[in-house]
Amino acid sequence: MTGVDHHDQAGPADPGRRRFLKAAGLGVAIGVGSSVALRLGGVIGDDGTTPWDPDDFPPPGDARVAVLRASSYDRGLESTVADGLRAIGADVRGARVVLKPNLVEYDPGVPINTDPRLVAATSVALRRLGASSVTVAEAPGHRRDLQYVATRSGLLEALGDVDTPFIDLNTEPIRRVPLRTRYTPLTELWLPEALVEADVVISMPKMKTHHWAHVTLSLKNCFGCLPGRVYGWPKNVLHWVGIENSILDIATAVRPRYAIVDGIVGMEGNGPISGTAVDAGLLVFGDDVVATDTIASTLMGFDPESIPYLAEAGRFLGQLDRDRIADDGEGPDAVAMSFERAPTAETGGRTG
């Protein structure tokens, strides 16, 4: 038995592949990476087709999102999380649940990662709600030394305290998963079996601005599902084919069932790793990742329809229409915030 899969000899000599990457590279795409222009419906749809099969993606239905106040990570968090999950009607009874936090980097005092205390509290809450197992899994994009980040961030200790296993998605056996959308030319993804076999995947991002993707929430968080041993550290090929295109293809392959956004302390400015803390004091729960990101970005002070990948996701993957998102809890209008935008290449590094 071998883990090597040379199923397709299309390699560097493949002219179509090279042509795409060369063209993409002109716009591109380095490191924390800029992106090529989003090749969304405007381009792909010019010939009347869509990058998804309508039979596979029926029009998005009504969604439920709950915005709950949570002033700190210290007290009563399990109850708050359980309340949030109940508010969105999350059904995890008997389910094998994988929590995918956003674990990127460690920098003391900078709220880069989904707080480990929230991840641990969520594990406890899910088991109380009947989940048969809860596993936390991640494949950070910058750091190969995951034990360093997972230890120093406090995640391993927090999970140990609540008897929750952690899986390094970089070393998990992988499976070839054909893409269900065609925003990139990837055609397939190599996904860890732990994710493919899970009954329920929950995306647990930090509420942050992002200097190439505007915001990084439930959809963008799915980048961390892909193993570095295939895609690298950083996962640069995903930048070359377009970060926003990749977000859509990856999210539709991973298909998180629920989302929980850590907005107790968020990040504004030069996210995803160099921004500054925002004491937002909120948790956002959703049964639809697009709806969750719609509400979360609204809370941050952004127009969801101005975020290209989110607007596109609203065409087929989830609900972008506020009128069709049932707001439980505080509701997005109860908390007016204005996160500072991340700098972009267009602003030459200046924020604002």
């Binding site: 071998t2 490191g31 800029s34 034990q147 295939v230 640069n236 090929v237 030459g348 590094g349």
Partner: protein, 277 residues
């Protein structure tokens, strides 16, 4: 009272559990064999069965990788070249490595890097990064010391070093923000530069002295730091890192990562002799 748990003992135990009946090693125990953990373990244990697995899993173009579709990973080729016995298979791997060039990206205000320098990518037809470039430079330095590509590897490392020294994955400045170095990537860059650029090597190893202490919870960072200090002949740092490595591995399962275990076995055994000239 039982024997003291050492990093070496823990690493060798994990490697034993990661070995498959086909002679190769998986990325974790119970996983199918893959090129990178197999190549690193071949170096660590001088394992001929692992080498045989590599020989039978070389791609047609001489490279070694895990998947081969639109995404075609390349990072194992340099390590495999270091692991293989001299001969045709190794020569084909080195040929591939010499021919493999990362894409260039023009200098921009957002990412001010020298667009004329090519290095080695993680996956085909993408940008060059510190770790794969360091690996390729190590392999060429060991077996093809006259290769003109070696200077390109050094040039990339010179261009990408962080402000104040050291390396992260490969971005010095992004959107006006100085990005800090990591121990892991700084260590492998120092290994690559050893004997090629004394000033850069010295600057990197100086920075590494503080970095590994800041990142002492990371076993792969410590293992590579120990390798770098061994290369530069800093015995005090070698001993200090080794103590830290034993401490961090104590009670740890290394997240079941065979690659981490293999690096620990390499640096605590005699595997470095197979990597450095």
């Amino acid at each position: 009272m039982g024997d003291k748990v050492t990093a070496s003992g823990t690493a060798h135990d994990l490697l034993r559990r990661s070995r498959n009946v086909d002679g190769g090693y998986g990325p974790r125990p119970g996983a199918p064999s893959e090129p990178e953990p197999t190549a690193l373990t071949a170096i660590a244990l001088d394992d001929d069965a692992a080498r045989a697995w590599l020989v039978s899993n070389q791609r047609n173009d001489g490279s070694f990788g895990l998947v081969d579709g639109f995404v075609r990973d390349e990072a194992a080729t340099a390590i495999a070249a270091l692991a293989l016995a001299a001969g045709h298979v190794q020569e084909r791997a080195l040929d591939h490595l010499e021919a493999l060039e990362a894409e260039r990206v023009p200098f921009s205000e957002a990412i001010p890097q020298d667009g004329s320098i090519t290095g080695w990518p993680w996956t085909d037809d993408t940008f060059g990064w510190v770790e794969p470039t360091s690996r390729a430079t190590l392999a060429l330095k060991r077996f093809r010391p006259g290769s003109p590509r070696i200077e390109q590897g050094v040039a990339l490392l010179r261009d990408r070093r962080s402000v104040g020294g050291g390396w992260n994955y490969g971005n010095r400045l992004v959107l006006g923000e100085e990005l800090p170095p990591f121990a892991h990537t700084t260590a492998i860059a120092v290994l690559a530069l050893h004997g090629l650029d004394d000033d850069l090597e010295r600057e990197g190893s100086e920075r590494l002295r503080s970095l590994w202490r800041e990142e002492r919870d990371g076993p792969i960072s410590l293992a590579l730091s120990r390798a770098a200090f061994t290369a530069v002949g800093d015995d005090d740092e070698v001993r200090a890192v080794e103590r830290a490595l034993d401490d961090v591995v104590h009670g740890s399962d290394l997240l079941a990562d065979t690659v981490t275990a293999a690096w620990i076995a390499i640096v605590t055994g005699d595997g470095l002799r197979r990597i450095l000239p």
